[in-house]
């Protein structure tokens, strides 16, 4: 579509530039070239995902580079997810308590 024609996505050089800017902005350094290459690859995947999310989102949200752009989804989940509570919770009756103060 016209959006893709106007914004074909980052080319390799632009991608590396974007990654360098990301490293500067979020003070990231990597221990060796292999780790750098791995993080660059994850960064590229996250940017592509951000672009896809933006196309799919029905609101006004914008997705792009954040402090978490060099993390895989799994790493992001491990670092910032509530692992103990994820997807499950103790069985509880929703009627416990009430939002009507008078009924409590």
């Amino acid at each position: 579509d016209s959006l893709r024609v106007q914004n074909p996505g980052p080319r390799p050089l632009e991608l590396k530039e974007a990654f360098t800017l990301f490293q500067i902005q979020y003070n990231r350094s990597y221990s060796n070239p292999a780790e750098y290459a791995r993080r660059l690859d994850i960064f590229a995947q996250n940017l592509a995902r951000a672009q896809r999310l933006q196309e799919e989102d029905l609101g006004t949200a914008e997705f792009g580079v954040t402090a978490f752009s060099d993390l895989t989804e799994e790493e992001f989940d491990q670092l910032y997810g509530n692992q103990r509570a994820a997807g499950r919770a103790p069985n509880m009756d929703r009627k416990v308590g009430s939002d009507e103060r008078e009924e409590s």
Binding site: S2, T60, D99
Partner: protein
């Protein structure tokens, strides 16, 4: 229910915190909830200790996740919370509860779970103050700004893994955002209702540490666990603040 509500304008919301590598969103949201409720009911802004919730919780390692209700149980068991200044956040659990060493600056009467109806949640928020909610954080990794309007496919509402503080709601002025976002599409004619949520990933993330989710579609499971502490002081003259529009 008013059209808009933003408790940030009432000086009852503390600065955005950064949980760093400690998965303690549940404790940060609970602390933010107590701070806001205390500020609204007493008229005195306060910043409470997240570290106390981590160190003194009955479930152990709070940096590996937890439940908001356990944070509130800790507050009830300890008869309140110390201040953030006295008992500061360390980013790790120390396994040694220091609660008795510090003076309590805020306490709660009890806590409740609200209904899963967004209109009722909005009413409670507007009349009583901010509440904690648990959401699917999948779309937040790359979020920069704007209103997230997800579907069940893009953000499963049954899988919730992140706790944040709900501080307000409003509507975008038509046609905010979308026109600039995608020049090839027609601008939306309708405004978008949204929730305002306080995250705990620092002020550099999102909209100065906050983000907005579509209101009215159970976006990312926001209605699954709406929980709040209640603060009620036996004051002769109850302090009452309305949510600023």
């Amino acid at each position: 229910v008013p059209a808009t509500c933003d408790w940030r304008k009432a000086n009852v919301i503390s600065p955005v915190k950064n949980q760093k590598s400690c998965s303690c969103c549940w404790a940060m949201a609970a602390a933010g909830n107590i701070e806001a409720q205390w500020g609204i009911k007493t008229g005195q802004p306060v910043e409470v200790s997240v570290q106390e919730l981590l160190d003194c919780g009955r479930c152990g390692d709070g940096c590996r996740g937890g439940f908001v209700w356990d944070a509130f149980i800790t507050v009830l068991n300890n008869s309140g919370l110390a201040s953030e200044e006295d008992y500061p956040f360390q980013g790790a659990v120390r396994h040694k509860c220091q609660a008795k060493k510090h003076q309590k600056v805020a306490w709660i009467q009890d806590f409740i779970m609200l209904s899963d109806n967004e209109q009722r949640i909005a009413r409670y928020l507007a009349t009583e103050g901010p509440i904690t909610v648990t959401i699917n954080k999948k779309l937040l990794q790359g979020y920069t700004h704007g209103v997230i309007r997800a579907t069940e496919t893009t953000c499963n509402p049954d899988y919730v893994d992140h706790v944040v503080l709900l501080v307000g709601f409003g509507k975008t002025k038509s046609p905010e955002g979308r026109q600039a976002k995608d020049a090839s599409s027609r601008p939306h004619r309708h405004s978008t209702p949204y929730w305002i949520l306080k995250n705990s990933w620092g002020p550099a993330w999102g909209e100065k540490g906050y983000f907005r989710l579509h209101r009215g579609s159970n976006a990312c499971g926001i209605t699954k666990y709406p929980i709040t502490a209640r603060v009620a002081l036996p004051a002769k003259k109850p302090h009452q603040v309305s949510c600023p529009p």
